[in-house]
Structures are given as structure tokens and as C-alpha cells.
């Protein structure tokens, strides 16, 4: 399913990888809170950019919710737009 690398041989030799899962689905989070910057920070890079869901395993629904939460947190300066 989630496969790193592009060559077709990688499909045969499945590298050992922990299966990614959506944390918010697993924990049944009722909603993602933009005020919870500690959680949000684990889904953004050091420079403040949001991580793609293919890296974090977040499902599409929660990735959308996460994006909104990050935007709100940035708006009110709880997170930065860009760390220099």
C-alpha cells in the first residue's frame, strides 16, 4: 500500500515498514483543536510547513481538518507561517 521508492522491484521486496495509521481515527478524536499546538506541531516541519498525509498516515478527512486547524493557529500567531 504505502511504498517508498519508485522502482518496480520494491514492490516484490516489501521493505519492513510499520503500517501507518491515522492517529485521529485511532483515538476517535471528536475534532482537531487549533489551540492544541502540541499536537499540531507533530504534523508540521521545523520550518512550519504542513507535512503531507503520505508521510504521517493521516486519513483524508482528518488531513483536511488538520489543515484548517493549522491555518487557524497561524492566524492567531500560535504557530508561524514560516520559520526562518
Amino acid at each position: 500500500m504505502v511504498q517508498k521508492g519508485k522502482g518496480s522491484e520494491h514492490v516484490k521486496y516489501k521493505r519492513f515498514m510499520r503500517k501507518k495509521f491515522c492517529r485521529f481515527c485511532a483515538e476517535k478524536t471528536p475534532f482537531i483543536d487549533y489551540k492544541d499546538t502540541r499536537t499540531l506541531k507533530s504534523y508540521i516541519t521545523e520550518r512550519g510547513k504542513q507535512l503531507p498525509s503520505r508521510m504521517t498516515g493521516t486519513c483524508a478527512r482528518h488531513q483536511r481538518e488538520l489543515t484548517e486547524a493549522v491555518k487557524r493557529a497561524r492566524n492567531i500567531a500560535l504557530l508561524s507561517f514560516m520559520e526562518k
Binding site: 471528536p30 492567531i76 500567531a77 507561517f81
Partner: protein
């Protein structure tokens, strides 16, 4: 009536009296519009993640309230002309957030009455007291 969440960032140089006054002005406006403040918190002075209007720090106020939509327009108008406020954000809560809010309010109320109850639980007179004190506590918070 809708549920809203509002963060206000005040000038960090403001004295405590100024913060009290700002907080009062905001809650007064909400209440005048038949709204009700359900929660208010002071997060205090924190460093902003980026500079806003040459401010590096700000004093964060956080409100959760119930009000008719018309109050929001008035609030926004107030913030635009109210000097100590240099940034604000008002968010309308959705169903799931409202449910979580109501649960947390109930839990807070239950905790408050549990704390005042134990020694007086058997005494009927005191029980009434606890009920009376529980109501305003819920309203203020």
C-alpha cells in the same frame, strides 16, 4: 443563538487594570446582546509566533460564548477601534465542538459541586446551599 469561540490578543504592555477593563468591555458587549459568556480564560503574555503590527508579544484572552449572530458584527467593530486589541479571531463552533463544550461545562460543574458537597452531603439544609452555589458558578464560567 450560536456558539462562538473568540481569541483576543491585547498589547502585552497593558497593566492588569487595563486587561480587566478590556475583558469587562468584551463580556459587557456580549451580555448586552443577550449573549452569555460560557468560559473565559486568560492565557497571559506569550510570545507571538510572528510579529503582528510590530508586536512580538501579546496578552491572550480566550472566550467561549453563546450569542445571536448580530453580536459578532458589533464585536468586530469594537475590536477594530479598541486600541489595546491588535489581533482577534472569532470562530463559530460546529456540532461536534458544541457537544465537546457542553460535556466540559458539565464536567466542570459536576466537579465544582462534588468539591463543595462531601462534608455536607447528609445535611439537607447544606445540600440546598450547594445547589444554589452551583448555578452562578456555571453561569460565570
Amino acid at each position: 443563538m450560536n456558539y462562538y469561540e473568540n481569541i483576543v490578543i491585547l498589547d502585552a504592555a497593558l497593566e492588569d487594570t487595563g486587561i480587566d477593563a478590556a475583558e469587562k468591555r468584551i463580556t459587557d458587549l456580549i451580555e448586552k446582546q443577550q449573549g452569555e459568556v460560557l468560559k473565559h480564560e486568560r492565557w497571559g503574555r506569550r510570545k507571538l509566533s510572528y510579529e503582528i503590527n510590530k508586536h512580538e508579544k501579546g496578552y491572550y484572552l480566550f472566550f467561549v460564548f453563546k450569542s445571536p449572530p448580530a453580536a459578532i458584527k458589533l464585536l468586530e467593530e469594537l475590536y477594530k477601534v479598541f486600541d489595546p486589541v491588535f489581533k482577534f479571531m472569532i470562530i463559530k463552533l460546529r456540532k461536534k465542538e458544541i457537544i465537546a463544550l457542553q460535556n466540559s461545562l458539565q464536567a466542570a460543574e459536576a466537579k465544582a459541586s462534588a468539591e463543595s458537597a462531601p462534608e455536607t452531603a447528609k445535611n439537607d439544609g447544606a445540600k440546598n446551599d450547594a445547589e444554589v452555589s452551583a448555578a452562578p458558578a456555571g453561569a460565570v464560567e
